[in-house]
């Protein structure tokens, strides 16, 4: 079954670039409200965020919403005074929008981190430079290796009676010693890796970069749809300009504004739609058998 997560990493990256770009740079309250709702929906449906993550997002939302009116006193509609400082409606609306933006972006970024696994990140960056792709790949291998070795060193140092974790200073010194052994072990044996590279032709020709990902027609189609929806949203945002200070002035429900909001909604739920239709098609094809 082909789902959103299996698209070419470029298509995935383009999608998040579009969505995050619109979320972060539009500052249109309607759009941001849609963004928050759809990103929460997506997080719940895909299981990206657990209870703690939702709680964290809620706290971020509250703090961000309150912070702006407390510090910024622009705007003419004063709601009340706090310590002789005006608390204005304009600043509050701006704060709420910013909070929506921040929270929605956090949800989307969490999703991005889940979808873009290490090999996809590597693929994306590797396109710029085959050598860099290799360096990244080597580094990731070493990160795994270091984890395993760190554990082994801790064990053998402990069994030699050299590892105390009685107090903080001992603990830090113990860790420093383990780290020191880890560095020596890995650096000294690195020569074998270097020789293995050399004996397999490193530096003999201009390097190419092999990737298991291919670009298919539906990747291109997907990117085209993304771009089109983003363009429509951007035009909509441009035509329904929002002014916060000194007086709120926004025409969110103009034809352009509605078109932009609609396009953005479609864009936001695009992955859910793809996965949903695929699931339905799968059911149908199963029932035919």
């Amino acid at each position: 079954m082909k789902c959103f997560e299996q698209l070419n990493p470029f298509a995935v990256a383009v999608y998040y670039l579009c969505v995050l770009g619109l979320i972060m740079f539009s500052m249109n309250p309607l759009l941001l409200a849609i963004a928050l709702l759809t990103s929460v929906l997506s997080a719940v449906l895909t299981g990206t965020a657990n209870g703690r993550a939702h709680l964290f997002s809620a706290i971020v939302f509250l703090v961000a919403a309150v912070l702006n009116p407390l510090f910024v006193h622009k705007g003419v509609t004063v709601l009340f005074y706090l310590n002789d400082r005006p608390f204005t409606l304009e600043a509050a609306v701006y704060g709420l929008s910013a909070a929506c933006m921040l929270t929605a972006a956090l949800y989307r970024l969490r999703e991005l981190s889940r979808v873009l696994s290490s090999d996809k990140v590597l693929y994306l960056f590797g396109r710029f430079s085959p050598k860099l792709a290799l360096l990244l790949s080597m580094t990731i291998r070493y990160v795994h290796l270091l984890r395993v070795r760190y554990r082994k060193i801790q064990d053998s140092q402990k069994a030699l009676g050299l590892y105390d974790d009685g107090n903080l200073i001992d603990a830090v010194r113990g860790r420093a010693r383990v780290l020191s052994i880890l560095i020596t072990w890995t650096l000294e044996n690195g020569i074998v890796t270097a020789e293995s590279m050399e004996s397999r032709g490193w530096g003999t020709a201009r390097r190419t970069s092999y990737a298991v990902y291919r670009v298919h027609a539906y990747d291109a189609l997907f990117m085209f749809v993304c771009a089109a929806l983003t363009a429509l949203t951007a035009v909509g945002v441009y035509h329904s300009e929002v002014v916060f200070y000194p007086v709120l002035d926004m025409d969110l429900l103009s034809p352009w504004g509605i078109a932009g909001a609609g396009a953005f909604t479609l864009l936001s739920v695009l992955p859910l739609t793809i996965n949903g239709t695929e699931a339905i098609r799968w059911r149908i094809s199963i029932s035919k058998i």
Binding site: F10, L20, M24, F25, A64, L67, N68, F71, A98, L102, A105, L109, R110, L112, S113, L116, S117, S118, V121, F125, R127, F128, S129, P130, K131, L132, L135, L136, M138, T139, I140, Y142, V143, L145, L146, R147, Y150, A171, V172, R175, A176, L179, S180, L182, I183, T186, L187, E188, G190, I191, T193, A194, E195, M197, W202, G203, R206, T208, S209, V215
Partner: protein
């Protein structure tokens, strides 16, 4: 696709980016956006700077041993973020730069951020962080002669880079949140971050002092043994 396999294109990019694209981006931001879209512009500049460096890296012939050592040091910096009580990322980047040169320092800083963010969360901050840590490594590499000779300078570098990192990242936080630069917000952000900045600077110094001799000796030995 933007596969830059073509050597000539890479060479062209190397000159276009610093001399045409970056100035153009700055002018564009001033004229078109009237200074409204700092974030887009700064993000673009950070990405371009990284791209510039990557094209430079691809052009060079790098020995396998240098590749391996750089990968190991970068992995150590990434791994350092996982150890409780230990955040030696800056110290490791600086040590790498001092012993292996500015390029290795930049790579160690930038790539360790990119890779560790796979676990700690990628975001629009990634290019900034990459650039920030990359530059910490890069300058340490340029200053390696002085940093190696005087421990005091090394400590100073640790403090300054820690503080500079926090100050720059706070600018970015404010830009993102407020859409433009607000001095008050910035000051409050800096003030609220003072404990973290201080802790960060202190830990930089502690780890630089702690790692300087052992890691320095190891790298020195490896350099001789490998003939790097």
């Amino acid at each position: 696709m933007i596969v830059i396999q073509n050597a000539r294109l890479r060479t062209v990019l190397r000159y276009i980016i610093p001399f045409v694209l970056i100035p153009a981006a700055v002018i564009l931001s001033a004229v078109v956006f009237e200074g409204q879209r700092y974030l887009i512009v700064s993000l673009g500049i950070a990405a371009l700077a990284l791209l510039l460096f990557m094209t430079g890296f691809e052009r060079k012939n790098i020995g396998s041993r240098r590749m391996v050592i750089t990968a190991i040091m970068t992995a150590l910096a990434v791994f350092g973020r996982f150890i409780p009580l230990f955040k030696p990322i800056t110290a490791i980047c600086v040590m790498t730069a001092v012993y292996l040169g500015a390029q290795a320092g930049f790579l160690c800083g930038a790539l360790s951020v990119l890779i560790s963010n796979i676990w700690f969360g990628q975001g629009p901050w990634t290019p900034f962080q990459m650039l920030a840590f990359g530059l910490i490594g890069l300058f340490a590499g340029y200053l390696s002669r002085f940093l190696l000779k005087h421990s005091l300078l090394l400590i100073l570098y640790g403090v300054l880079s820690g503080a500079a990192y926090s100050l720059i990242m706070d600018v970015w936080t404010v830009l993102w949140y407020a859409g433009g630069f607000e001095w008050k917000l910035y000051l409050s952000a800096i003030l609220s971050a003072v404990p973290f900045t201080a802790l960060y600077a202190v830990s930089n110094v502690v780890f630089l002092l702690l790692l300087k001799k052992p890691v320095g000796n190891k790298l020195q030995r490896i350099k001789i043994k490998y003939g790097v």
